[in-house]
């Protein structure tokens, strides 16, 4: 039932970077808009109609997800086996949301936000690590 410490460490690290990413995006937005760059369109993405859900910025949902993942990794690392296995559904949901949001950036907005793409990459990494640790646990059962 125990996930390998290496995978737990990797999941925790990705979630830590994700927390920095989403917190940075939230704090930067507070200090004014991000300029529209020639090569991207960060502000177009974060001010688009797809950016908030029920009035809540997507960055906050991302923060909640990374906080959950980080917490689970810490609990697993502290000897509470099975914590990472609880992440299967949140990680799956985050992956689906990341694919949808990246698709919206590419095909609807035709603008990219580097922080959002970074978050999509992190949640994809978390998904694969969580799924592979599920295999570890099942193998031990």
């Amino acid at each position: 039932m125990k996930t390998s410490p290496l995978k737990v460490g990797a999941i925790g690290s990705l979630a830590f970077v994700g927390m920095i990413d989403t917190l940075y995006l939230s704090l930067s937005r507070r200090s004014g808009p991000i300029p529209c760059h020639i090569t991207s369109g960060c502000e177009d993405v974060v001010t688009s109609v797809y950016s908030p859900v029920a009035g809540i910025p997507l960055a906050w949902f991302g923060l909640a997800f990374y906080l959950t993942v980080f917490g689970a990794a810490v609990f697993e690392g502290s000897g509470n086996s099975g914590s990472v296995r609880l992440l299967v559904w949140p990680a799956t949901f985050a992956l689906i949301a990341s694919i949808a949001l990246t698709g919206i950036q590419a095909f609807v907005l035709e603008a990219y936000c580097e922080y959002c793409l970074g978050s999509a990459a992190l949640s994809t990494g978390i998904f694969f690590l969580v799924m592979s640790s599920r295999g570890d646990s099942e193998g031990e059962e």
Binding site: G12, F16, M19, I20, L23, Y24, S26, L27, S28, S31, G32, P33, I34, P35, C36, H37, I38, T39, S40, G41, E43, D44, T47, L67, F70, G71, V74, F75, G77, S78, G79, N80, E110, A111
Partner: protein, 227 residues
């Protein structure tokens, strides 16, 4: 000590340890994010050498002999430019006699598909001496046309709202000369190596984007004092 309490004590310690680690992690992430975003919150100063900006296509707002000239390179479809339009409008109220705005077009056509056409609409209104009003309408109603498949009808409705001669406006809107004037500004922006909009120059010097009107006001006071 009972068997039960002997079993729960290590578990409680483990949970406490986990919670402490979690709190430390969250605080660490918050500290790093705050440090990284600090640059954006610090009060900016005008930086760099004074730039020679061509005034061949400049559109001036404010008093002709204003003490200070604020040059803006902007894109009507850019959300940040709309935000700063509000700030610049506020600055005009605070410095009615001292400040003039020289607006240059820099539409980022690759990400803002209607931006060149919007700049052409502003220029077309300018041919009837109403560029300032069209400039305001374009920014204030960005949502109406920014992602519209047919922005022309919106621009025509703005022209009607301003009481412009419709035939003249339509002719200007479709004239290649009008677009050429917009593209002259784009050439000027590239010459100045501008890579993001809005880009401001105060008294010829580039200004890092102030986060709010108060910071922008402070920059203007500093520039006025140094004259």
């Amino acid at each position: 000590m009972s068997k039960k309490s002997r079993r729960t004590a290590p578990k409680q310690a483990s949970v406490a340890k986990s919670l402490t680690l979690m709190a430390a992690g969250v605080l660490g992430a918050l500290a790093i994010a705050a440090f990284l975003s600090q640059g954006a919150e610090e009060a900016p100063e005008t930086t760099g050498a004074r730039q020679e900006i061509s005034t061949a296509t400049a559109r001036i707002r404010g008093p002709e002999h204003a003490t200070l000239k604020l040059v803006e390179f902007g894109d009507y479809q850019c959300p940040s430019c709309r935000f700063y339009h509000g700030i610049v409008t506020e600055l005009f109220e605070r410095f009615p006699d001292q400040l003039a705005l020289e607006f240059h077009h820099f539409p980022l056509a690759s990400i803002h598909h209607n931006s060149v056409f919007a700049a052409v609409a502003a220029e077309s209104a300018g041919e009837q001496n109403r560029i300032g009003e069209m400039h305001d309408l374009l920014f204030d109603n960005q949502d109406l046309w920014a992602n519209s498949p047919n922005p022309e009808s919106v621009f025509i409705s703005f022209a009607a709202q301003l009481g412009l001669d419709q035939d003249t406006f339509m002719q200007s809107l479709r004239a290649s000369d009008t677009e050429s004037r917009v593209l002259l500004d784009v050439t000027e922006a590239r010459k100045l190596q501008i890579n993001a909009v809005p880009a401001f120059f105060l008294d010829g010097r580039p200004v890092p984007l102030p986060p709010n009107v108060e910071e922008f006001e402070r920059l203007i006071y500093t520039a006025l004092e140094s004259r």
